[in-house]
Symmetry: C2
Subunit: 196 residues, 2 copies
């Protein structure tokens, strides 16, 4: 397959962000992750923290929760407004250059392109718990609980905006268990497939 874009969807704590970043470095193409948040904050006028939260997580997991969040911009909820901005930024980036895009439903937004390799990274709860404690430190909440809540809110967001099931293998060209396969190996499988 000839690809120009790689999208990395990932479970929280699975190392998907690291995999995206290092894959992009190997391929010498940009990786959009924090940079995407920055663009979104700049264009919307919201803070980066607010944008990071609202552009990927449902406030309360559940089908209709997004419909009832505060409305403020042109009659759209903030989240709907950010969704449409984010969608346009991702479409523009994909038009402009080869890149890796981490999260933010980019797999769905770019699904009609034939030059996009879509990847899903996951790992078991234990491995992810170890990883988030190592990277983000301890909090009052048990790491397993933090993970399950994040997963639930991310899945609800994805389902609400894409009408597809988050983590369903059929939605991705490649899905990898980074805990079993190893981060380095995930990177080499993705770069090999991209360069084919």
């Amino acid at each position: 397959m000839k690809n120009r874009i790689i999208t990395i969807s990932r479970e929280f704590g699975s190392g998907g962000r690291t995999i995206g970043k290092q894959t992009a470095e190997m391929l010498r193409i940009p990786c959009y992750d924090q940079e995407l948040i920055r663009k979104l904050a700049e264009q919307s006028g919201f803070t980066q923290d607010y944008v990071a939260e609202e552009s990927e997580y449902s406030e309360h997991p559940g089908w209709f929760s997004n419909a009832f969040t505060g409305r403020s911009v042109n009659g759209l909820s903030n989240q709907d407004y950010l969704w449409s901005l984010q969608r346009q930024i991702i479409l523009d980036l994909a038009d402009k250059e080869s890149c890796v895009i981490v999260g933010r439903c980019a797999d769905y937004i770019l699904k009609d392109r034939s030059d996009c390799l879509t990847v899903f990274i996951h790992a078991d709860l234990e491995k992810r718990a170890e990883r988030i404690v190592k990277i983000y430190g301890e909090t009052d909440q048990l790491p397993q609980k933090r993970l399950l809540e994040k997963d639930k809110r991310r899945a609800a967001f994805y389902q609400f905006y894409t009408d597809m099931k988050w983590g369903q293998a059929q939605n991705y060209h490649l899905a990898l268990d980074s805990g079993a396969v190893g981060i380095e190996r995930c990177i080499s499988i993705i770069t090999d497939l991209f360069s084919d």
Copy 2:
């Protein structure tokens, strides 16, 4: 990861069986697919055709359908009886030697082993329709319809016996879209991971 066993779960028409067979040839280990059906037929006294159907497909897709099929062996339904036989055959094979096992919920049956690489193969409907017409020929039913029915019945069987969702990326170490990635490439990714 150090592996001894590879399980290949697959959507009908995705080439999963071919991938399993050729991966096993490359690795010079046996591939259990038809051979498993033969063992199951021999041990149960049922025909191979009956066993092939009853050991992987729900008669009517739906949660409780399996509970109401005809009962005949030791008070178990035929399907429950075949399930327990199949489970034991798969556990014994995995104990005995390195091998590839295609389908039959082997990923679930062997989930507690740390030396088992679990793979899911899928492809989009169009690619699969092309493939089944090429391999199995035309029938009265449209290939897309045949595929969707097979998928539905296979998913229902899997969910009934494993209480997990068929095709959920998190259930497998590796999931690949054989239509996009290509059969040859799927084989090389799996053999590389196995040999690591």
